[in-house]
Symmetry: C2
């Protein structure tokens, strides 16, 4: 993999990852851009012991631009986008409207007395473009390109995890306006959180209790239970298992887990990476085959935090969709949004069966 790091006109970092050496890679960004500013701050909600990111500057972020103003297509002629070069394999760059950023150091942080608290929101938000085809999708990638993306996420996990103030690296993709996508061009994202995210904390706490009580990995036992039960398995290979969890929250939900416990993407071996790509593309095609149109989805890598509880985590990917039927979405209404109590209208066994036969 050929790696070319450069800077955008406003100083943001941009890195090309090429499968073959590309002469002339890394052209200058010819745009005139205002300095990046971030007004992000973290506010502590004592009522549930969580940090909330307040990022007022993001209100003006680019919102569903027409295809000919897409900022994620390569630059061509006078049409200058976020990506100066005329083509790319995979390119990663700092988000122009970051929720977490080193640029946030200048934000004015309010004086919030206890039990509240406020602080700057350091960290990092990156955009991951994996195809220059505006109408492409991850499912359309070649295995080679998908493998390149995985290697890029592992690279970014190491680099972002080493940044000051980053506690957890979250690699994910949102696809579809139904899940809040603001740019149609397919892309992933990476958040370097300045805290351990609430759900990660809940998972680590459950994992720690289980390890204390039994000496075993909770996730490994879940995986074993699914392999024993068989009925929710979607697909497997020598190194990975894809299953609908027995307590799925979403009408479509699949976990892809390696067959051995690893903390994060950089820990994956070469063969495990190749094997993941095969299984993930297979599951993606099944997801797309469920209905006449591809389902919206959120694809989320769950990794160990950067510096604590790494032995408690078990790397896996959670892929889920709010689509409960064509034209019908699962909304996070009162019970989910206000109480965190999920209602799933679809039996996990049915979802697994549908995905197996898709």
């Amino acid at each position: 993999m050929n790696r070319t790091a450069t800077r955008m006109a406003d100083g943001r970092e941009l890195i090309y990852f090429d499968e073959v050496s590309t002469p002339g890679r890394g052209r200058p960004d010819r745009r005139e851009l205002p300095p990046v500013e971030s007004l992000s701050q973290l506010r502590y909600d004592p009522l549930v012991d969580e940090w909330v990111s307040v990022a007022a500057h993001r209100q003006s972020r680019t919102f569903l631009p027409p295809a000919d103003e897409c900022p994620l297509c390569p630059s061509t002629g006078d049409r200058l986008t976020e990506i100066p070069d005329p083509d790319y394999d995979v390119v990663v760059f700092e988000n122009r409207f970051p929720a977490y950023s080193r640029h946030g150091a200048s934000a004015s942080i309010p004086d919030l007395p206890p039990p509240y608290a406020a602080r700057p929101a350091p960290g990092r938000c990156e955009v991951v473009c994996y195809t220059s085809d505006h109408d492409g999708s991850f499912a359309d990638l070649s295995p080679r390109r998908a493998r390149t993306v995985l290697d890029v996420l592992a690279d970014r996990t190491v680099e972002i995890g080493a940044l000051d103030g980053v506690e957890e690296v979250f690699c994910f993709e949102n696809r579809g306006v139904e899940v809040g996508v603001t740019l149609h061009h397919p892309h992933g994202q990476i958040y370097g959180y300045p805290f351990i995210a609430p759900r990660t904390r809940a998972m680590l706490a459950a994992s720690a209790r289980h390890a204390d009580a039994t000496g075993r990995s909770l996730f490994a036992e879940v995986l074993e239970a699914e392999l024993d039960a068989k009925e929710r398995i979607v697909a497997t290979n020598d190194h990975w298992t894809a299953f609908v969890p027995a307590a799925a929250r979403w009408p479509i939900e699949v976990i892809l887990a390696p067959n051995r416990q690893l903390p994060d993407l950089p820990s994956l071996s070469d063969v495990e990476r190749d094997a993941f790509v095969v299984l993930y593309l297979d599951v993606m095609r099944r997801l797309n085959g469920l209905h006449d149109t591809p389902a919206p989805y959120i694809s989320a890598w769950r990794q160990a935090p950067v510096r604590q509880d790494r032995d408690l985590a078990y790397l896996h990917l959670q892929l889920f969709s709010p689509r409960r039927a064509v034209g019908k979405l699962k909304y996070l209404a009162g019970s989910e949004s206000a109480m965190g109590a999920f209602l799933n209208d679809v039996l996990p066994e049915e979802t697994a069966r549908a995905l197996r036969s898709a």
Copy 2:
């Protein structure tokens, strides 16, 4: 308040609450309805230590019917709805497609070995109709009617809380298709959960830690901090305070709290109930006045659990909307849905200012 309890054709309970005695109240339900069935079950997600409700029968529930097929309008002539009588003040009935129900006892519960678990989903789901006007809204109610609704919620909290297996009573309203409403006719809902909801558990845990460390009520300190800071106060009266919390998660979010600690709605005094109604209608009108069209919202009463930690809870209402601007919604995308890490694009101080001047 005049209370008339009756049964629907399929045996579900229906209760009219009338402001004045209404002769002939409680006509028979002349429909032929199949028996209520509930296939609800609870599945335990060990990875985060939470119960998920799986309710496959709800997939076929009524979905945005046209106005002339509205099941929440009163029955007229041959058009028979969920409400047999020709008019009503407030009427409450068991949901035909309940996520939690005594009818669920007959569902076949799968054998899920540890670390999973499955069990029936007892409990109760009720619909609260507070106006026979299909195009009405809570904000349009008279103070008297709004007070009746509050009294009904207090009544239901006591009755539902006394049912076998109910651990928490959650009264809420979803308004707008943007938050997943499946019936346009304005209505509230009540869930009698067979567990303590995840967010309630998080609040009780934070409250317990704070009480252990300081001997004080965490929520009372939050309220004091907001009263001291002043800038996020939306409106107040002698008994209630409405404020945008400093760590608001949503572009529009308001907490309405009584000025003294109470566990639940039944504990509210007569004057506190009247005072709530005045403040809530005022805040509702401000919410509706923010934009050209009324904002979608979720309105959620946070009460103490039925039988534990009642001294740790502090009754309040949380009102929030995902609308961040006209035509733009806050989506719960990767960070919120997968990680529980909220990004708010609007400063809480700005929201409070906008609501004050609306």
